[in-house]
Symmetry: C2
Subunit: 122 residues, 2 copies
DNA sequence: CACCTGTATAGACGAACGTCAATATACTTC
DNA sequence: GAAGTATATTGACGTTCGTCTATACAGGTG
């Protein structure tokens, strides 16, 4: 059976089961689209190296060039570049070119989103 | 060459490069052990389904049994059980057995950790 | 212009993850 | 204790992720 078919079957089966076991359904506080957006953000934070990069940028309190960041890890340059890209696309850091170097700094907006999420569910 | 060998080589090479390009090294605000711990937490949040489960529990403002949670998703029972386990082990939800059912509720401590992280880097 | 240096991208590979069907476990009821 | 229901665990499979090497691109310098 197709995947869609299986899903439909499962939902129909649930609808048929008239008696709910305990509490009535409550509308989630996090819609599917909001959840997808937050998941993208948290996926960027779900790696030890990326968290340490954020820690470095926070401690520096100023922009750092890639080679400075790279110097703190026993990882190849492309790997660091990859992590920076993930952080950038999640809105957690910003990049700025200065001549030959690219400087990265924290993007407070992304961090604010993290705090917001935690507070919203509380 | 072994992985360790490669890493050692890379570090030695960096030490040899006497001239740093721009800023002096700053101690990270997030040690390796703290980063690993936070990464574990965020990995649990890095999935759309798990975020929606948290949203459900937050909206309910009371414990929900697994079948109630399950009813909100087109996913198999073992899959939901798996997600609940991940959330449990991250300290984001708590489980409590009541007769035949297991009730899940938010664990504010885990959520507080998320907020703390966001604030700490700011 | 040719060359060098810093950063990004492409492609490959193994590990980890989300999902499922099948099965086991925990508890209740007859 | 046998049967039924709610939840957890196991093992398999395809996908995503982190890492690497090799290479491309961008911006300086002779």
């Amino acid at each position: 059976m197709s995947k869609v078919g299986r899903v439909v079957n499962r939902l129909a089966e649930r609808a048929a089961r008239a008696v709910r076991c305990c509490t009535p359904p409550a509308p989630s506080r996090l819609g599917p689209e909001a959840a997808a957006c937050c998941a993208h953000l948290f996926r960027a934070l779900a790696d030890e190296t990326r968290l340490q990069i954020l820690g470095l940028l926070a401690a520096a309190r100023e922009a750092l060039c890639v080679c400075d960041i790279e110097a703190n890890f026993a990882l190849s340059q492309p790997t660091i570049s990859h992590h920076l890209k993930v952080l950038r696309e999640a809105g957690l850091v910003r990049a700025e070119r200065r001549g030959l170097w690219v400087y990265y700094s924290l993007d407070r907006q992304g961090l604010a989103a993290v705090v917001e999420f935690g507070s919203a569910l509380d």
